[in-house]
Subunit: 724 residues, 2 copies
Amino acid sequence: MDILANQKSIRKEPTLKEEKRASFELLFSPKSVAIVGASRRKGSVGFSILKNMIDNYKGDLYAVNPKADEILGLKCYPTIKDIGKQVDLAVLILPSLAILAAFKECIDGGVKAVIVISAGFKETGKEGAALEKELAEMAQKNNIPLMGPNCLGLINTDPKVKLNASFAQRMPDEGNIAFLSQSGALCTAVLDYAKGENIGFSKFVSFGNKADIDELCFLEYLKDDPKTKAILMYVEDLVDGQAFIELAREITGEQENKKPIIAIKSGRTAQGAKAASSHTGSLAGSDSAYNAIFEQSGVIRAESLEEMFNLAIGLSSPKLPKGDRVAIVTNAGGPGIMATDACIGSGLQMPVLKPETQEELKKVLPPTANFSNPVDVIGDAFHDRYEHALRCVINDPNIDAILVILTPQAMTEIKETAQTIVDINKTTDKTIFACFMGAVDVLPGVKILEDNHIPQYRFPELAAKTLSAMVRFKKWGERSKTKVVMFKTDNAAARAIINEARQNGQRLLTVEQSLRVLQVYGFSMPVFHLAKSASEASKKAKEIGFPVAMKIVSPDIIHKLDVGGVKINLQNGKEVETEFQEMMKRVAASQPKAKVDGILIQAMGKKGREVILGMDNDPHFGPLIMFGLGGTFVEVFKDVTFRLAPIREASALGMIESIRAYSVLKGVRGQKPADIEAIKNSLLRLSQLSCELTDVVEIDINPLMVYDAGEGAHVIDARLILKS
Amino acid sequence: MDILANQKSIRKEPTLKEEKRASFELLFSPKSVAIVGASRRKGSVGFSILKNMIDNYKGDLYAVNPKADEILGLKCYPTIKDIGKQVDLAVLILPSLAILAAFKECIDGGVKAVIVISAGFKETGKEGAALEKELAEMAQKNNIPLMGPNCLGLINTDPKVKLNASFAQRMPDEGNIAFLSQSGALCTAVLDYAKGENIGFSKFVSFGNKADIDELCFLEYLKDDPKTKAILMYVEDLVDGQAFIELAREITGEQENKKPIIAIKSGRTAQGAKAASSHTGSLAGSDSAYNAIFEQSGVIRAESLEEMFNLAIGLSSPKLPKGDRVAIVTNAGGPGIMATDACIGSGLQMPVLKPETQEELKKVLPPTANFSNPVDVIGDAFHDRYEHALRCVINDPNIDAILVILTPQAMTEIKETAQTIVDINKTTDKTIFACFMGAVDVLPGVKILEDNHIPQYRFPELAAKTLSAMVRFKKWGERSKTKVVMFKTDNAAARAIINEARQNGQRLLTVEQSLRVLQVYGFSMPVFHLAKSASEASKKAKEIGFPVAMKIVSPDIIHKLDVGGVKINLQNGKEVETEFQEMMKRVAASQPKAKVDGILIQAMGKKGREVILGMDNDPHFGPLIMFGLGGTFVEVFKDVTFRLAPIREASALGMIESIRAYSVLKGVRGQKPADIEAIKNSLLRLSQLSCELTDVVEIDINPLMVYDAGEGAHVIDARLILKS
């Protein structure tokens, strides 16, 4: 079975089908909506949605309830068909067992798009899952985009539409952030939090069980939505890793209006993942796979809602900093130091201001002020001193972004200082962040800042972290774009080796078979021969040249070292001959039932820097490529990184550069750099192999011995495992 | 010069002198206060403090201002002496140049304690520093505790006193948290933040320049203060590391009413430290030293104000969890998963609930609920379902703490659920945390929780982090207490080696001298001899037994390897003789001017696990002991830890256990454990050496070769450097 094809089949709809796209847009901007299951019982979902619609919606609204004449002053129809007018969107709030019939009516009534709010589907077990499958098939057959089931609904704050097809307690303010959530209950907390923090939304979507349309459909829509500047996602699983990477890359780093995506993927820990699978009934991939997917698609992964919104406030603002050089202007020394720590700790630079800038500052600030960076305007500063300092700092060519810190001291002019920041912000294309510290007295200033879209944080640490994310996002958009490289390989030869192993009933390829497969895929390695007898071993060793290494060749032995099946540094034919006998004896004593093909005689390469390459087949997403430093402490420091195959050149380089031991590869203390190009090509070959030979589910290349730049890299040992 | 004595001299007053203690308490609870420099100018510091005092203070209040008859209805005296009654505390708000005279008047007028609010001292440069020194000497000579200068003042919320001797904009609510700050401006932000978050304080202190009394005096006072349950500190430097450790250990882990201390030490990064030194004019020690000090004293280091207060909310609450086993009760699946991730990620356990507990839960919760852990009571839960779930979970013996999560859904009874939590909390000694997610609709519930001292967090991540800190704090208080071990050593012999080196004009001890010093201090090592000629070398090698190692012995060569001054594995006398000549030639070619004492002939020990021990003399705090894993990647992974000398047995063990590579020492994959006891003793001996031989400012033991448990550890190479 081919994994790429397999991935295709996991994904129901790789992108929105052309014939569905127009209908999909009606989910957000319908001209007419029917609430099926509208209820007059206060507090019920059917009542709440109807009320939200009546209170907000600008289009034609119909209520469907066979048992009522009118609710909240709106006439009720017994069925959708009875409405007798075009209904763009139907929202179904009925017991799960009544949903299929209602959906059928929607089809018959010419409804274009449907939201199923009701729960009672996949999340409740087998029967629910069957019901959901039937629903999904009906939607797909009829090209009707279906959102849900088991969701809170959907909100579009566009004043021309004002659609609140949800049972949320409140209508959020208009804003430029879109929020997508796989959890409905979380949405209620997010809306309440956003209200308190004055955060608005462009679109707000609780997409539920994803029976038909999923996160990819919504991302594709939001990609072009002019009202959306940043996209937030809470997900418990992704339907298709590679499709997500392609689409998200386009949104975050390729298209003209690049939009940041900030995602929370819950179930990071094993126990969290278990809780998630009992919650949604879906098996998500490993957390390493999600990290890889987000890394490859430029998606910023947040660990908490708080972090997500803190990042969003900065990343949805119109001005990305041109670089990472920050100046701090503060009226308090302590917070200035804390902010400095936070900026440096977040990977930002804090250059000393130019002498000219410092001279300008001295003209107005008192002599006890600090003129370097952080600039301390001192506790008794009125707004005019802030203004002077800000103007000076903005003119400094060494500065890309300014963080203005204010503590509410006796002389502090909170509102005036906020207004000063707003005014100066209009005159510059540099990024200005504010940090008015406190929660009560500073509020009037905070309001002015928020109303004028100046990113404002209560604490400098949050501002620094966000600025740093903005710098990284900018760099991501500007990085050089690379493609997936395909090497010419004799695919058939590799398949032949695997087929042969299959016919032998092997799942584990021997070291000899493994090396041969890798050789076909263009990996370099020391010369090797399989010897079946002591004399053959000695003869082959002489041909290869001494010293040699000897390794047991068996499809039944996974850890050769543990059974005494590896010996290095043999110096002559005699030693080889003797060792052949002894190794055979040791292995037979340790694993008497193991089938043994012979002993591998391998040239001893020179010593280089050891790295590990690997592949694990994620059951949900397919082959995941691993790279890390080799040697004794691999398991201690877990200095490894993952990417979903196929990987691009830039990803391969990114893998190499992202491990902490990269400095060892670059060369420490006068050492020459290692052959990074050879590692990169090895990763790309491994990626290609993983995508092509889909029978292979696990690969370990340990070690890949890397030599100095220009001298290549050698596979010393390897192990391939086939699908069971 | 002796460093311990040196440390003593850094510390002005190791503890409060007995004769000063009674006066010190008057800072917080004076029966009468004089405001010297009271002003009628609104917005001025002299006005603000007087107003704060008038509005709050319960004792006798006097204003001193020679130019006014009365301010805010209070009679003004021209000088302190004119008051004619006992003044316990004087608060001075005058230009810095007028402070000395005013302080003199305080002495003459029998004032018991003084706060100097005014700035213009050490922080402004040399002249200010001289003024400050004079002020401090005057205070110390007269046994008058002096707080400041350059501070915001001091607040005691005790309703019997209600002292607000500060120019803060507001009087904080009463609470059980004490706050100490070296930054005055930060205090204004903290008070404003605390107001917004409904956090109260017992004492609130901006202690300024620490001319006389410092953080240690305040800690000693707060140690016994019955109103204070937790202590928060913002510091830019500490005056005395070892004194701080001793006192803070007593507060956090020794005394009966253990109190958590949470500290922010700003200037973490090099640039932050530079900003701090230009702010306070004081040179703080290295950040590694501060980490060591906090680690050794049980102080929790916070990275931000937000983290500090989040931790304080939990740590000041009366119930510490008995263990680390948490149950989550939630009405929302998504947040339940996020909370699970956060708990596991913070090092907490989330055990599966007992079958009996799950049975009990099933009696009331709907079938679609989750009965394991997290317990999901489902979105339509009223408060009674929370109540049932909470009662069940509390009775589970596998659970130590419960985190209750609420999202504001349509059916959610926010206030009733909060009240339920409050009621149940009264019936149990298990720790209950709440996480009502949101910022507006949830507020009525949050208020009920806060009024009843249930720790409440907006986000589960913050709650999990705090619970984890509480568990660690509990464990710290219960740990086995150990002492500083002193080994019997021939101190004089070690000093003789150092004196000899001194007389030779050496700062760098040769490898031979270094090994001899360590030998005196009881370190084990392979046999070695210093050979002055090739024939002596060969003779000594034969005595030692082959193979041997050879190392150049020179006080001028710091990196022996770089000059070809190390050779290992020499097999016979011939090889040694030849190598002697060659090494001498190589070294002479590479460093012709280096004085060479000869070549060290050293037995080759067997291979073990390599660790590094070291000592660096922190200019502010004295000897800092370092421990880490040795080998190639030391510099990449920086897997090292520090403690301030002298260290206790528990600290030595703590160092060993805290490095990430500890698993390697414990033994991975069937390997025997290393001789941890031998490492511990080596660390204790190193600590003793560092405290006794105070002429030594740097020690490197690299590697210490550690053998399997019971087989000891050998110093293979070492380097000592003397004070210049």
